[in-house]
């Protein structure tokens, strides 16, 4: 599957910096259309978003109309008003990433290492991991809403076992939102980790055992460091979309007004109340925070090749 490419494909890592020798006008011809497209529909919109984030309300007072300005206050207003949403977004995304890692890593290890001797089972397990990609993400989330709902099977069982009080709810709580986020990104976590564990040379693990390391020591000193590129890709592929998600946290799905994340505020301001400057400045805040976190994370984990 193509997601393996994100985790660094075997041959690619070597060839990338092998500095192809040829210079040719053909290169420009090949690059130009695609890069022009990205400039027009990625860079220009970003500039547009920055400009919008500084806009001021129309002086005549018409709703939904804004004029070009340099209104820094948009940012301070957004930060003071929506800081709980910002904190919540990153908190939920972090919790979801940790849960997805705790589920995804053992799964990837099982498929990539333990099932090596059974190619058919390995292929089947991989198909099951990517299966969720083939069914609408909104319908899957909606299915969880049904399963976790007030008269759904999960809550009934937990209440029958008196593990939860009769008036307890799951949907509409942070627990449901974090669970939904973690669930939706488990495949994105599992596949890159699988891609790096699948190539893990088991002789290294054996060497650890030969040197009298306990299995846990071997895992933390040998296996885990060797699978770090996959872990880095997987956590980024989970954390970034999770922090910006607004489906799981919306009240039509697993959340409620109390679980609203930045994405929900951006959507509401852009598409419902047409307060474009607020939506735009929040988007820029989200983008800046994510880029900052990603840069720090990549530097600390020591991986450079991302594309």
């Amino acid at each position: 599957m193509a997601f393996g490419a994100f985790g660094g494909t075997p041959g690619a890592a070597v060839d990338v910096d092998a500095a192809p020798a040829r210079r040719s006008p053909v290169a420009l011809l090949l690059l130009l259309p695609g890069l022009a497209y990205l400039a027009l529909f990625f860079v220009v919109p970003f500039v547009s978003l920055v400009l919008t984030s500084f806009q001021a309300p129309d002086p005549i007072g018409e709703i939904g109309r804004y004029v070009t300005a340099f209104r820094w206050e948009n940012y301070t207003e957004v930060l003071t008003k929506y800081w709980p949403h910002i904190v919540r977004s990153f908190g939920y995304a972090l919790a979801a990433t940790v849960i997805a890692l705790l589920i995804g890593y053992p799964l990837a290890y099982f498929i990539g290492v333990k099932l090596r001797r059974f190619p058919l089972l390995q292929a089947l397990a991989l198909v099951l991991v990517i299966a969720p990609f083939f069914i609408s993400f909104l319908l899957r989330t909606f299915a969880w809403k049904q399963i976790l709902s007030d008269d759904g099977p999960v809550l009934s069982v937990l209440q029958a076992l008196t593990l939860l009080p009769p008036d307890a709810r799951i949907t509409g709580t942070p627990v449901a939102v974090v669970f939904g986020l973690a669930y939706n990104f488990i495949p994105f976590m599992t596949l890159p980790i699988y891609a790096s564990l699948e190539r893990l040379d088991l002789r290294y693990v054996e060497a650890g055992a030969d040197l009298y390391a306990r299995p846990a020591t071997t895992f933390f000193r040998v296996t885990l460091p060797l699978s770090m590129p996959g872990v880095v890709s997987g956590t980024l592929l989970t954390f970034i979309p999770a922090a910006g998600d607004y489906i799981n946290a919306s009240s039509e799905f697993l959340g409620s007004a109390e679980t609203a994340m930045i994405g929900n505020v951006i959507e509401a301001n852009f598409l419902r109340v047409e307060n474009y400057p607020v939506a735009a400045s929040l988007s820029i805040v989200l983008m800046a925070a994510i880029l900052l976190l990603v840069a720090v994370y990549i530097r600390r984990s020591g991986t450079k090749d991302l594309v």
Binding site: A27, L31, L49, T52, F134, F137, E206, A243
Partner: protein, 272 residues
């Protein structure tokens, strides 16, 4: 004996944990498929009995709204995939084969759309269309989808290009093939598996995209957008039917291609 793969107590624990993980992944899929057979009225939340009825009425329920949204999704997916695959493949070849200035800037430009949260991409495009006075509709959805698919195509095809030995193309040139002939008779067939993988990925990403679509669709409705709007009042079972059909088709394609490549490997192994 290879100690790394021996099945001990820990291994069984791991196996059970992994299987539970797979069950968790599949639970909502089973739920969605099961509810495509639910004998529901209006909202499809409580199980009321088995029926085939929903499968026959996908295009008549709600005046065909489900069916139309599905058609729009297919149209958007096909056009955006074709455009993104062409643009992205060209970039991937240039990145591997040629030396040029602004190389790191190019790589950054490819990487950034993948690292940007979808809300930001969606809101940015919507702000641009608003500023330029472009009316939102199917056209703007296609423009948006093509944009976010390009990067994924580049990453996927690039991996394939870098495994390709340039000597094979040189051989073609040595035999007096024109550049055009080398591309169509040598390079393209060798890259095809990567290009197909990239196209399938693009289509899947486009087909399931909701967030960017929601910002740039205006009144137009794709399948995910339809589901989102319907969620408040109740999603009709016919939406589950379409999702189920698409799911089964995709799984059949994946399993089929796996079996095909396994058979090819076996044949190659026999030949050598």
């Amino acid at each position: 004996m290879n100690r790394g793969v021996r099945f001990g107590v820990g291994s069984w624990g791991l196996a059970i944990y992994a299987i539970l993980g797979l069950v968790l992944l599949l639970t909502p899929i089973v739920y969605t498929i099961a509810f495509s057979f639910n004998d529901s009225v209006k909202s499809n939340i409580v199980w009321r009995g088995f029926t085939w009825q929903n499968w026959a009425t996908i295009c008549t329920v709600e005046n065909g709204a489900v069916c139309n949204a599905f058609g729009t999704s297919i149209l958007v997916g096909v056009v955006a995939t074709l455009a993104a695959t062409a643009l992205g493949t060209a970039i991937a070849i240039a990145l591997v084969r040629y030396r040029f200035r602004f190389r790191s800037a190019t790589t950054l430009l490819i990487f950034l759309p993948m690292a940007t949260p979808e809300v930001v991409l969606g809101a940015g495009l919507a702000a641009q269309f608003l500023a330029a006075g472009v009316p939102k509709g199917v056209g703007t959805i296609i423009l948006a989808h093509t944009m976010f698919c390009i990067s994924f195509v580049v990453v996927t095809v690039r991996a394939r290009v870098s495994t390709l030995d340039p000597a094979i193309e040189e051989a073609g040139r040595d035999l007096y093939a024109s550049p055009w002939q080398v591309w169509w008779r040598v390079t393209f067939p060798l890259l095809l598996p990567g290009i197909v993988a990239a196209a399938l990925l693009s289509f899947a990403l486009s087909f399931d995209d909701f967030i960017i679509t929601n910002f740039n669709a205006g009144a137009a409705s794709t399948f995910p957008k339809y589901i989102y709007t319907a969620a408040a009042r109740g999603i009709p079972a016919q939406a589950n039917v379409i999702a189920t059909a698409v799911f089964l088709l995709a799984i059949a394609l994946v399993v089929g291609s796996q079996l095909l490549s396994a058979a090819r490997r076996k044949r190659l192994a026999r030949m050598t």
